[in-house]
């Protein structure tokens, strides 16, 4: 089915043939032919954002909550450079995106033309792959290839840079066929021998733990189902990274909570003391491991990952399994069932008893107050009042993000959208826009901090334009809370520029954006206002005034080991600076 079309027509046809329903974008000189084609068709909906970074985060939210590829369209020069943060975010968190950028005409490339930048040069290290299309006859192939590369293997953002003359030029279109890529063919099936070895090791474990990550969610809903099945079969405890929350239900008795720097006491100590660690789709990030040479010193490690470069990068794997989590988990379930191994029941019972004593430590305990809203309490109430609804949560980055991870209980995958790897303040609001576009009938809440949300606040205007009733639930302590917490930890409590002196009136701001503003000052008014927020069929900014100096615990200070955590109830809340070693101070 080869047809002659203009480059712009080819792009729109390719998007349609790839099943794209929504594009997040912002027009400009170098993409006008593409926008003209968008104008002429009705199949693909275009969401006009207010800043290109917002377009990419919205596409991330769309992709992560729906399992589809997010599509972004921006212009050359500043359009492309504004997208860089979002692209890097998607690369770090393995989110499949296709970002189309306009470029100046081929004849002008390299001449420092108006709104020219070396887009493929700038985005080379922050995309999974990128293309500069110089010949319109390559365009259809590259578009289809971009979708293939974005989705296959470890997902990630792919950028296609299209000069304006290529958008006008006539070329031949060919539809997507089953791609056998010349070079990019990631290994999906894990080695059968390695899977058998892993099952043998698991069967002999006395103190096992599943350590799961975003890879389980990226692999698709079936992988989450299989993880639950394997956990059920084995009876092993499960912990997860921030990116993996929801793959395993928080209500399960086998769930230990999130691990890592702000993870639970039981999860981190179980990781430290385990003898067999089964890492599924996680990458031993420094937020997870703490001090590497003290990380889980006595365990044998099984590492399942589709990206070979993630294996033995930070922590050596004893049994590496390169493959898709879903496939490998399915095989593990099959092999486990077939072998019906005799596990060491006594040892496992003792392990669970040990975990029980750690749980009794009640590490997330905090001192609630009735004169001021504690941020943890606010999230607990938000959870209680939304748990029986079809709810999606996004977050910004900082203390509120960690409290959301600790206190909001996720039962299903694809329900939490957060910036894990890059830690991008300003992610949550535009991501909520994208989630709401994918799920128009669902309740979408951005658990935010007042500092983060100011970074992409303009996207409230997008929400208003498309009647997207997103809820921005701001835990407002007037500080960059996590910066302040670290200044207490490392810099003698000198709050250098971590206090916002002149915040806007968020209620009025919501109204200015054609939304609804709500404010809660006292714990006893919280429930009613949250219900009011949920029932408002418009975008809402909820200014939840919380305790200004609350800190996020437990915490593994940087440079420390899992078994050396700072616990909330041990801290007077004032001087926590003694906890960090010189080595830790140089860490981020």
């Amino acid at each position: 089915m080869a047809r002659a079309m203009t480059g712009a027509e080819i792009v729109l046809q390719a998007l349609a043939d790839q099943g794209v329903e929504v594009i997040f974008g912002y027009p400009g000189g170098a993409v006008l032919p593409l926008y003209d084609e968008i104008f002429k068709q009705t199949g693909i909906k275009h969401i006009l954002v207010r800043h290109e970074q917002g377009a990419v985060h919205a596409a991330e939210g769309y992709a992560r909550s729906s399992g589809k590829v997010g599509v972004v369209l921006v212009t050359s020069g500043p359009g492309a450079t504004n997208a860089v943060t979002g692209l890097t975010d998607a690369l770090m968190d393995s989110i499949p995106l296709v970002c189309i950028t306009g470029q100046v005409s081929t004849a002008l490339i390299g001449s420092d033309a108006f709104q020219e930048c070396d887009t493929v040069g700038i985005t080379r290290p922050c995309t999974k792959h990128n293309y500069l299309v110089k010949d319109v006859n390559d365009l259809a192939r590259i578009m289809h290839e971009a979708f293939y590369v974005a989705q296959n293997g470890r997902p990630g953002p792919v950028l296609v840079d299209i000069p304006k003359d290529v958008q006008f030029a006539k070329g031949t279109y060919a539809g997507p066929s089953k791609i056998v890529h010349k070079t990019y063919r990631p290994q999906v099936k894990g080695s059968a021998q390695a899977i058998r070895d892993a099952v043998d090791l698991m069967a002999s474990a006395k103190k096992p733990i599943f350590y799961t990550g975003g890879g389980v969610i990226n692999s698709g809903r079936n992988a989450s189902k299989l993880l639950r099945e394997l956990a059920d079969l084995t009876g092993f405890p499960v912990t997860s990274t921030l990116m993996g929350l929801g793959a395993f239900p928080a209500s399960s008795t086998q769930w230990l909570g999130m691990l890592g720097m702000h993870g639970t006491y039981e999860a981190n100590l179980a990781m430290h003391d385990c003898d067999v660690m089964i890492c599924v789709g996680a990458r031993f990030d420094d937020r997870i491991t703490g001090r590497l040479n003290a990380f889980s010193p006595g365990s044998k490690k099984i590492h399942i990952d589709i990206d070979p470069s993630s294996i033995s990068k930070n922590v050596r794997a004893d049994i590496p399994i390169i493959g898709d989590c879903g496939y490998v988990l399915e095989e593990m379930v099959r092999v486990w069932r077939a072998r019906a191994p005799q596990v060491d029941k006594r040892a496992l019972k003792a392990w669970w008893a040990q975990i029980g004593t750690w749980r009794e430590r009640d590490c997330l305990k905090y001192k609630n107050r009735d004169d001021v809203i504690m941020p943890q309490y606010a999230i607990q109430r938000l959870y209680e009042l939304t748990k029986n609804r079809d709810t999606y949560i996004t977050t910004e980055v900082g203390q509120h993000q960690m409290w959301a991870a600790q206190f909001y209980k996720f039962e299903e995958p694809n329900r939490l959208m957060t910036s894990g790897g890059l830690g991008t303040m300003g992610y949550g609001l535009p991501a909520a826009v994208g989630v709401q576009v994918a799920h128009p009938e669902s309740l979408v809440i951005d658990i935010a901090g007042e500092s983060s949300v100011m970074m992409t606040m303009q996207e409230m205007s997008t929400a208003a334009q498309y009647d997207l009733p997103i809820k921005i639930f701001i835990l407002n302590n007037e500080y960059m809370g996590m910066v302040r917490q670290w200044q207490e930890l490392l810099h003698g409590g000198r709050y250098s520029h971590s206090y916002a002196e002149a915040l806007p009136d968020f209620v009025k701001l919501a109204e200015a954006y054609h939304g609804v503003g709500l404010r809660a000052d006292k714990p006893d008014e919280l429930d009613d206002l949250i219900v009011q927020m949920i029932e408002t069929p418009k975008p809402v900014i909820f200014d939840c005034r919380v305790s200004k100096l609350a800190n996020c615990f437990p915490m593994i200070p940087s440079g420390e080991a899992h078994n050396n955590m700072i616990m909330g109830d041990e801290m007077a809340g004032e001087d926590i600076s003694f906890e960090v070693s010189d080595a830790g101070k140089v860490m981020v």
Binding site: G121, G153, K182, Y184, T289, R291, L292, P308, K313, S558
Partner: protein, 183 residues
């Protein structure tokens, strides 16, 4: 080693204690624009070493180029380098020639030596011993062309230093595995 050097964010502590190894890695890539930038950017972005890098098209029909990278690092870092190279989209194959066995490595150097009298005679005599060719000469200078392993070329250059070495141009190593099989 001070405690400051330990901690998260460092690639790994254990391999740091391991000896650095020198490896020659062959990478077969699609000869498309930007592919070399991807490879070099990977090395600079992740802090890997490049001792030498050569690249040129090896198959016009298949549009393939072969990159030979000589690098050094701990065994864990070498493994990372290979995995990271392998996941670049335009990469066909990555082969660690050093692991496959003592690979054949050749480098070409052009060595300009100026001088008169006994030094000039000595430089010519050494060039013969090293099987270097004279490719340009006046009564005041020679340009020698020498091929061989990197270590041989370095020996030769060191010997030329006191004899009037002016400048050197080197290609970097090209390498291939022994035996009948391809990479």
């Amino acid at each position: 080693m001070s405690k400051m050097e330990w901690g998260p964010g460092m690639p790994s502590e254990e391999p740091q204690k391991e000896k650095d190894e020198r490896h020659a890695i062959a990478v077969l890539v699609d000869n498309e624009p930007g592919v070399l930038a991807r490879v070099i950017g990977l090395f600079s972005g992740r802090g890997y070493n490049i001792d030498s890098l050569t690249v040129t098209e090896v198959s016009h029909e298949a549009n393939e180029s072969r990159i030979t990278i000589v690098t050094h690092g701990s065994p864990a870092i070498i493994e990372q380098i290979k995995s990271q190279l392998g996941r670049l989209v335009p990469v066909h194959a990555v082969t660690d020639l050093t692991i496959k066995g003592d690979p054949i490595e050749r480098e070409l150097a052009l060595v300009k030596v100026a001088g008169k009298g006994e030094k000039r005679v000595e430089s010519l005599r050494l060039a013969e011993a090293f099987r270097a060719q004279v490719v340009d000469a006046t009564t005041d200078h020679f340009v020698f062309e020498i091929t061989g392993r990197t270590s041989k070329i370095e020996n030769f250059i060191n010997l030329m230093k006191p004899l009037g070495l002016v400048e050197v141009a080197r290609t970097g190593a090209a390498a291939i595995a022994r035996g009948p099989e391809p990479m």
